[in-house]
Amino acid sequence: MDTKKVKFPHGIPGHNLSEVEREIPTGEPPAWPINDDLKVVGKRVKRTDALAKVTGAAKYTSDIQLQGMLFGRMLRSNYPHAKIKSIDTSAAEKYDGVYAVHVFKNAVGMAQAKDGGNSAGFPDVKFAGQPIAGVAAISVDVAEEALKLIKVDYEYLPFVVDLEEAQKPEAPVVFKTDVDQEDRGGGGGGQSGLKTKGNLRGPSTSSFFGGPRGDVEKGFETADFIVEHVYRTQVHTHCSLETHGVVVDWRPDNVTIYASTQNTNSVRHEFAEMFDLPKSKVRVITEFMGGGFGAKHSLGNFGVMAGHLSKKSGRPVSMMLDRKEEHISSGNRPNSVQYLKIGAKKDGTLTAIKQKSHGTAGVGLGAGVGRIAQVMYECPNFSTEQYDVFTHAGPGAAWRAPGNVQGAFGLEQAMDELAEKLNMDPLALRDVIDKSDVRKVERQRGAKQFDWSRRKKPGSDSGTVKKGLGMAQSTWPRFVNLNSTVEIRAYKDGAIEVRSGVQDIGTGTKTILAQVVAEELGMKPEDITIRIGDTLFPTGPGSGGSIVTGSITPPARNAAYKLKLELFDQVAKELETVSSKLSMSGGFIVSQEDNSKKIAVKDALKKMRTEQITTSASRSDDYGGFKMGSFLAHGDLGSVQFAEVSVDTETGFVKVDKIVAAHSCGRPLNITQLEGQINGGVIQGVSYALYEYRVMDNETGHQMNGNLDQYKLPFAMEIPEIETIIVEDYGGRSSTDAYGIGEPANIATAVAVANAVYNAIGVRIYELPITPDKVLKALNKI
């Protein structure tokens, strides 16, 4: 490939901004300066779809109404472990208003056993809530009545839903053979090929960052101080406002699927594979999406069922999960029991980190504690062993920074404790062991804004309600999906249209695409039409791993750049110059030699030979040879968060008063949207710290709080004051140099809150969520 050398801004403005030279493909645009010198990018641009959303004009999957559409519902097992001996659907089939009935032959959406786990032709039931059969009828009510008529003959088997019980030798076994589960791009699933013994699978000891380093036992021998504890986190269910669901419209020559998904591409892939169709005959549309935190990457068993029901009935079938189904079956953040041991020298230098974790993703995989302990700090000796423990419970799934949120809870409390043992300020300890420039700046700016100097000695606040301050850090890799393509069309009438399969799950992807293209073409974002979330368009990345911005905005800019060059070629002669001497701004193509020589972009487009021209670009490799596993220390997506809490030492209730969240994401594209993501991440972090947990009944294997009343999400009064600090951090790694923020925003909050609680009461709480019973126990009041 022909390349050229280009200088890019590099580093952090106000700290160490400099330049770096990169060798980049010739066809890619020149470097953008830092945001101060740009017109649209990095600014507070209003969402392109704001009006549609607030007026209700935006149509979500559950709003889709097609002619002749049926409503699907699924029969779910109300017992956690059973073999199905027989199923009789005859009465349901005859029920008035029913058009199709289907019985699952295979289980989907969970780890797959090598022996298939089938008896009598039906998949074994492995959790309460596992779907067995489905009905499509003229209304939801009719479908539900028909479900009651399906007779299932079960052979009930013993079950286990508790993480610790499941590890006992006598525990009922969930999978009798080794299992695997494919990752659908959201960071769910688990490392493939690991062995299963009893209910234990693993350990996983390595990652894309490599395997164990050095010799931890020797490292501990050289340590002056050791911190060693077991930390616990809870199961956290998936509560986006819009539940999982699809509408499948099966036609003889084309299947259209309207999906509430984070990944139009993987839904198409799974559907085509499941029904043995070429991808060209499967179209997935996600125009508006009501939120997803990681569990919405797959077709899901509801999607498979809707496919069968639509195929059988010849009509479109809408299948939206209700809130209970959402809680029990649609994917959760697995819990964890993490043993962590850290050794350090007197000056803070780390000598060894040893980690061992167990967690349950129910009948799924992916209950690890992430790689934060492996990569955030300098430490020569490191080892981890992460086990999945199977239980007869709904599957885990990727959930906003999978693993890392759990892992951070152990690691960052341990660091807080270590700092105290070393008689160092927690920030000063990080200055010694953390080589990240961006977190250093975040610590400085955050501490100033938060006024960290107010922090008192642990437990020293007087009175019944004690205030406490704490902080924690996080890291998240700059993931990129090279399978990301954008097409841009320019029409004779002046319209510009951006097309990609990538979906906007509510984060504002449409808006940043408009900004990037507008910046390149010297236009306004509102002049650009964004059409995304449709697999008829070129493939885009899934919305997981905070991957979208870093993957899709560079090809968007590059395609716009190509378009610009094509237009330059067309008008150069008329403007009496060559195309390399033209520029585009304010809606005009202007000669740099003589700026009186110009033509409006609209007029240039009118002169096109064809009705439209189309350019497209795909994501190229990161400039500078950056790849997963290679050097990430400069410019990981680092964050530092500060928390202020009040702890009522008589009632045990904790209230988070304030969070200051300092974040980086390369080049920020839209400040308002970034703040929105950070606010959301912080709120979910506060909720994980204090409120949300799945209550499983061990005796019956059911979730007891599978609704939005008893499953405690935070509301207005629970939400603290949130201040954000966004640090520009240029790396010269792509034509936009921008990255996502969705997951980073969520990692540090809960543990920052835990550290603040410690600072308030002087006793550490090693288990989430920090409910009054744990606080009162810690204070020896019960």
Binding site: N78, A128, D141, D648, E650, T651, G652, F653, K655, Y691, V695, M696, D697, N698, E699, T700, H702, M704, N705, D709, Q710, K712, P714, F715, A716, M717, E718, T771, P772, D773, L776, K777, K781, I782
Partner: protein, 336 residues
């Protein structure tokens, strides 16, 4: 949700002629599937129907019955609140706020503004417990006719810490905590034109007495009003509720304190605990500890300690004991 027919009752008698079961009877499968039940705001009944817990054949809408929606207050006779009065109306009523502060506070902290707009006082008293086993279709619990209380050795963090020997659910009405502290009575009409008036302390039924119901209401009875005796200038009251969340939540613990004071001395006390036992209870021990004493940090603390004497917390709710002690003490001190 099941299909049902709808009847708009015009008068109390009209309603009583149409109805043939209480929701509790339907829940415990004590009636045929031709049940007809009352609905006022529907905030509890419709919840249960959506969950599939009950499937009444006929809904008797009592919301439009004339004369059940008034609040009247006289210094001499006290307060009378019609059964169809919403919690939002009670919250907005100046006389309640002025003369029955704890009741105002209890109402203002119940549910959300949207719920309070729909929730009637009668429905609030007749609503059923929010115990998650009781509300689950998958659990045939003691209250629904089986012999098992799943909460006893199960997930009981929000359950009762007193009188929890058979069923450990707690009554959902936090409004009742305040009503009982003001010594309120419930006015009930029966089909034959008869009326009875029962004290709040007699209105609730403990699971030990009958696990299939939480109140004395019979199928052919309709609550028409709640009556509260006058409150004098020496009456001081306060209510505190602690839920898992501040924005809106059910009480994990709540307390209403109504005191007769003379100077700073407590002449008489009525301290009622909600969410402590299966029904709201007057804590005689707490009252006794306070009566005749100056109200100080120490006497308030003593009274709070006394309120938790004999508590029998379960595996996961021992924290409710210190929690009650804290809010009882605070509520007492807030009256001064």
């Amino acid at each position: 949700m099941n299909k049902f027919s709808w009847y708009d009752a015009k008068t109390v008698n009209d309603a009583l002629e149409q109805v043939n079961a209480t929701v509790s009877e339907v829940l415990a499968s004590k009636v045929s599937d031709q049940s007809a039940v009352f609905k006022c705001g529907g905030t509890d009944l419709l919840d249960m129907m959506k969950e599939g817990l009950v499937a009444p054949k006929k809904i008797v809408n009592i919301k439009n019955i004339a004369g059940l929606d008034a609040i009247s207050y006289h210094q001499k006779s006290g307060l009378k609140i019609g059964a169809n009065v919403t919690l939002a109306q009670m919250e907005a009523n100046a006389e309640i706020k002025q003369n029955y502060l704890a009741l105002h506070q209890a109402v203002a902290h119940a549910g959300t503004p949207q719920i309070r707009n729909m929730a009637s006082l009668g429905g609030n008293l007749a609503q059923r417990t929010r115990c998650w086993y009781f509300r689950s279709l998958d659990h045939e619990c003691l209250r629904k006719g089986s012999g098992t209380c799943f909460a006893r050795n199960g997930e009981n963090e929000f359950h009762a810490i007193m009188k929890n020997g058979s069923c450990s659910s707690v009554h959902a009405s936090s409004v009742s905590t305040a009503l009982m502290a003001f010594d309120a009575s419930v006015e009930i009409a029966a089909a034959d034109g008869k009326k009875r008036t029962v004290k709040m302390t007699e209105f609730f039924v403990t699971p030990g007495d009958d696990s299939s119901r939480e109140s004395i209401l019979e199928a052919n009875e309709l609550i028409t009003a709640v009556i509260i005796p006058p409150s004098g200038s020496k009456t001081k009251s306060y209510y505190i509720k602690q839920g898992a969340r501040e924005s809106y939540d059910w009480a994990i613990a709540d307390v209403a304190v109504v005191l007769e004071v003379s100077g700073s001395k407590c002449k008489n006390a009525n301290i009622v605990l909600g969410a402590a036992a299966p029904v709201p209870i007057r804590s005689e021990a707490a009252s006794t500890a306070l009566i005749g004493k100056e109200i100080t940090e120490q006497t308030a603390k003593d009274s709070a300690e006394a309120s938790m004497k004999g508590a029998t917390p379960l595996s996961k709710n021992a924290y409710k004991v210190p929690l009650f002690k804290a809010i009882v003490k605070r509520a007492i001190l807030k009256t001064t």
